[in-house]
Structures are given as C-alpha cells and as structure tokens.
Amino acid sequence: MNKRVVITGLGVCAPNGVGLSQFTESIKNGVVGVTFHQQLADLGFGCQIAGQPEITEELLSQYFTPLQLRDLQATGIYYGMIAGIDAWQDAGLEAGDKDTVDYDSGIIFGTSTLGVDKLKTAIEMTDQGKVRRLGSSVVIQTMSSGISAYLGGYIGAGNQVTTNSSACTTGTESILMGYERIAAGKAERMIVGGCNDSGPYIWAGFDAMRVLDKKHNDDPVKGSRPMAADAGGFVPGSGAGALVLESLESAQSRSAYIYAEVLGGAVNSGGQRGSGSMTAPNSEAVQKCIQAAVRASGIKPEHIDTINGHLTATGMCPTEVKNWSLALGRSGDDFPYINSLKSMTGHCLAAAGSIETVAGILELDNGWIFGNVNCGEIHPEILEIVSASRIPRKTMDLSLKILAKASFGFGDVNCCMIFKKYD
C-alpha cells in the first residue's frame, strides 16, 4: 500500500514575483514579469524580451553565507536556493544544526544547464592558460546537481539528494519522482522543484531556432501569448519553483498546514516517432501520459476542475488543447478550465513545471483560477474544441478540487500530475 503524499511547503522565485506573497498577488492580478533586456538587444537577439526574477544583493544575503556568495555566478542556484529554502520554511521546517543529518529528508531538484556564467568564466580562463587560478567553486556551480547539493547542505538532507533533467518537463518530473519516493516509503520529506539560469547564453540557442517571439520587443508585457490567435513564439524565462512533499503521517504528526494532496502522476516519452521529434511532442504519447496520470490518481477524467497547461505560445497550443480533450474525452462547455502561467512569466524552461505547479496549488488553496493575460482573441482552432468560457481571461473565484498539470519537453518527454485540495 502506497503512502499518501501531501504538499506542506511552497517556494517560488519567478519573473513576476519573488516569494509566495508577491507571486500570489501577481498571478491573481495578472502582473506580467516579462521585460526588455538591453543586453539581448546589444547582442543582436531577435527576441529581446525575457522573464527574469528581480534579485537584490540584500535578498541573496538572506539565503547564502558571504563565502557562498563569493564568486557565485550561477543564477539558477540563486533562484533554486531562494525557492527551496522558502518552501522548507513555509512548511514550518528548519535548517538542521551542523551535526545532525536528517535521513528522512531528501532533494530532487532539477535543472537544464546550470551555472553558464560561471562556465563562461572558467572556459575563458582555461583558454588563457589560467587553470590554476580558477578557484574551488567551478565544479560545484556548474555540475547539474549543484542546486540539489546546495539545498541538501542547507537542510542537512540525508536521504536521496539528486537532480533530474528532462528539458522543459524537468520541474514537473521532479514532483513525480519525489512523490514516488515518499509513496514507496523511502523518504518522509522531499524538496522537489526545478530551476533555470537566466541570461543570453541560456536563451541564445532558442533564439537561433527562431522559436521565440520577436514582435513585442517594444511592448514586452504583451509578448507571451499562450492560446492567442496571434501567438508567434515563446518568451524565454528563468527562475525556480519548489514544493515540500511529505508523507501524510509526517505532516499530521507535526500538525503541518497541508496545501494539497498529490494523487499521482505519470511520465512517458513519444519516442520521437509519429508526430514526435527531438523538438515536438508525439500527440499519442501526450494523451497516453495524461490518461495514465488520471488512472494512477484513482480519479475519473470528469473530476478534473482545472488544467494548468504547458501552453508555451509557439503555435502548438491548439495541438495541446486537442490532446487534453481527446485524452479526457471532454470538450466544449464540458472541458475543464484551462490556463497558462507563461503569459505572465514567459517560459521558465526547466523551472516552468515547478513554478506553474506552485501557481496551481495556490489556486486550489485560495479558491480562484488566474486569468490568461494576452489572450484577447483565442486561437480559432482552440475554439473548435473548447468553449471560450473555459479559458478565463481574468481571475475568477471558483471552488476547485482537482488540478491537472502537465509539462512537455525536448526529447519528446511528457509528465502529468494530478493534485487535490486537501480537506
């Protein structure tokens, strides 16, 4: 018998809000965190707008020791530590003392590429023959697992401490992995989530692929347009989201506040076959993943109240909505409410699934669903499947019970999770 798993802590470092309270206000009020970046313009990017959390030196000093901050050039570690530590504290948990190892707590915190700015410095110094002058922090800032290592040291984690990486599925996949570990009785508490570096070296590859929005450099707030008729590419983002997952018994034993229960989830790949490729999802696999998540959660498709989609605004939004509709057997007025946080944050890549799940859990907890900004005119192919009333453009009060969240990533990988308000 699997253990029940609940969410007892949330943390977020998003382009439109750092910290739970600011983020909650932002998503409720449709505040967009996408801004113009002069550096991207100077470097000749087609897309010169991006979502990047606003971080001050003062804020960093609350999460890192002066020694840790010395030569720290990994923005993903900034964001991941802020979100992870916030989630841990939000759960009412403390950093362990320096002699205590907590063998029941672990970390699965994902990322794509970590510490690119540090890597650039290291590459330049290496090429200049200055290897011996690099210092000791290149490896810990550029290894993918750097973020889980930093977080593990903070809490004194003695359970599994690792990093998952599955492109834009990463943040959601980490939640499934942590859930499975606790459900199997192998851990009591896991910090899960994902982070993604910011900056030109992260975003350049996407700009080169011509998949980013180029039409809103002078109007960044309107740049990210999931599900809109005129969506023409995604806006790159960055940041981190974190959740503390905990066995129900552990949460109850310490009278922790419970945001929601993780009912289950599924992960799969389309094998880059059929409609799938390195960069596009196989729709059949997407539908199977959603259906598997529903089955694993012990619910029926009609129980889903709202969907927090992947919905990046590249032109694939109608395909995604169709996949949800076919997988759940629901359409028109019967379709669940659906929204995309990316309209307010851009696409935060490896952090996307975790930031968006935090947003979804806040919806369950607060009893409203946030509106899709920049979706004035819904894509006509979406309206052939779903009634416009199911795509809120403004935040609306709504008593929700069950949320479905999915993310899809390069490599044709999918993950879908089902969450239930705890009562």
Binding site: R70, K98, R132, S136, S137
Partner: protein
C-alpha cells in the same frame, strides 16, 4: 608577531565557518583541523594570498601551509626571494 599576520588573518576570515569567530585565529591555529576551513577552500586562500602579496605559491608549497604560522613562513620566504 610577523608584520603580515594581520593581513593573512583578514584573508582567512572569510573562509571561516559561521560558528568560528575571527578571534579564534592564533598563529598556531591549524587551518583545517582547528579553524574548520573546508579543505577545498585552501586553494582559494592561496589565490587570495597570491593576489594580496603579489607572489606565486607552487602546489607542493600549499601542503606546507597547514597552520597560520607555517603559511606565514611560506609567504615570507616568497616575498624575500622576489
């Protein structure tokens, strides 16, 4: 005490763990065993020392710098042979 003692103390202090105070640094302090400096950070201490005193310390000399006093000996000999 050696004229470079205070300068070295200033370099070392940022590498002290949070529960070790700068006042605990004495000439005989062992950098790793007593001051609890992370062994990985010794190379950073050496780089800071190199920058501050404008000297170059070879890898085999780093091994000799296990206490504050022995580090000062290495620094002094390097400065004197500049």
């Amino acid at each position: 005490m050696n004229s470079h003692y205070e300068e070295l103390k200033n370099i070392i202090k940022i590498y002290l763990p949070e529960d070790v105070s700068v006042d605990e640094i004495t000439p005989n302090s062992h950098l790793i065993n007593e001051l609890n400096i992370n062994s990985a950070n010794l190379v950073d201490v050496v780089l800071d020392v190199e920058d501050h005193f404008d000297i170059t310390i070879e890898d085999d000399e780093i091994e000799k710098m296990d206490t504050v006093a022995s580090a000062l000996e290495v620094i002094d000999s390097k400065i004197n042979t500049k």
